[in-house]
């Protein structure tokens, strides 16, 4: 009788700690993979449609063309690691080494920011974007203390029009 009670007292703990993590592991991996696939499809569709990439990291065009007007273009995204990934990341950071789970989240964020920059440049009517810079910062949450980590990625550059 007493042992039964012990089992039931563990149940809420199980419900609030292990189950979300399990959900995070099972559904989070699926969700992130789906998003990455969608992004890949968008990228290749963009390249197929326009035949060339319209963002450049250098500050001049190669070959140079006379530029008629310019303006700033920005795109940002904030991404977070799932609860599961955060937990595994912490375990990883004890032994050190490459935390591949975080790699995946951040590289998705960067690619997404760049893709948004491409789309925004197109939408605002710029022919090309030069001098593209990427910036990453960590968002610290006030609640949910340290349980999850989120990052913001900003991509910006100068949109140009040329003849």
């Amino acid at each position: 009788m007493r042992e039964d009670f012990a089992v039931f007292s563990w149940l809420p703990i199980l419900l609030f700690s292990v189950l979300p993590l399990l959900f995070s592991w099972l559904y989070g991996n699926y969700y992130q993979a789906k998003k990455a696939e969608e992004l890949q499809a968008r990228e290749s569709a963009f390249l197929a449609q326009h035949g060339r990439d319209n963002i450049h990291n250098i500050s001049t065009l190669i070959p140079p063309k006379p530029i008629t007007s310019c303006g700033l273009v920005m795109a940002n995204i904030s991404v977070g690691t799932s609860w599961w990934q955060t937990m595994i990341g912490r375990l990883h950071s004890i032994i050190g080494g490459n935390i591949t789970l975080f790699d995946r989240v951040l590289s998705y964020g960067r690619k997404e920011a760049l893709q948004r920059l491409r789309e925004q440049a197109l939408q605002q009517g710029w022919d090309n974007v030069i001098n593209v810079r990427l910036e990453t910062s960590r968002i610290v949450s006030s609640s949910n203390n340290g349980r999850s980590s989120a990052f913001e990625i900003l991509a910006y550059g100068t949109g140009i029009k040329h003849q």
């Binding site: 992130q32 008629t68 700033l72 810079r133 910062s137 968002i139 949910n144 989120a150 910006y156 100068t158």
Partner: protein
């Protein structure tokens, strides 16, 4: 809303002028404004804003974090805040009598738990 782009006067003579009588500031993160000449540099102009997240949004974002991926609430908030920082930079530029800002850079830092500082800086110049 301050327009961040401007058509050069030489390239488009037949276009109607923008009816909004707000000053037009050209912004670029390259060292020159393409298609125009810089006649004077007026020094560094800065604009910053510190923004804390709404507690409700923060909790929602924490829940969304179960599966990871994009946190739309934060994306929107930071976008707004950055626009605000840029507007302050533009005001600084106007106060100095410039009409363009070149070599714009952005920086972000965490000043407190749950608050981010968004910072924009560049060189105010006069272009023709």
């Amino acid at each position: 809303m301050i327009r961040q782009t401007m058509q050069p006067p030489s390239g488009t003579p037949n276009q109607p002028q923008n009816p909004v009588q707000q000053p037009q500031i050209l912004i670029s993160n390259t060292e020159t404004i393409h298609g125009m000449t810089i006649t004077r540099a007026l020094g560094v102009v800065t604009g910053s804003t510190v923004r804390a997240k709404h507690i409700g949004k923060d909790i929602l974002a924490g829940l969304k974090n179960i599966v990871g991926g994009e946190l739309k609430a934060y994306t929107e908030l930071l976008k707004e805040s950055r626009t605000e920082a840029m507007n302050r930079m533009i005001q600084d530029c106007l106060a100095r009598g410039g009409n363009a800002v070149v070599n714009v850079r952005f920086a972000t830092s965490n000043v407190a738990n749950g608050a981010s500082e968004l910072f924009a800086y560049g060189t105010a110049v006069i272009v023709q």
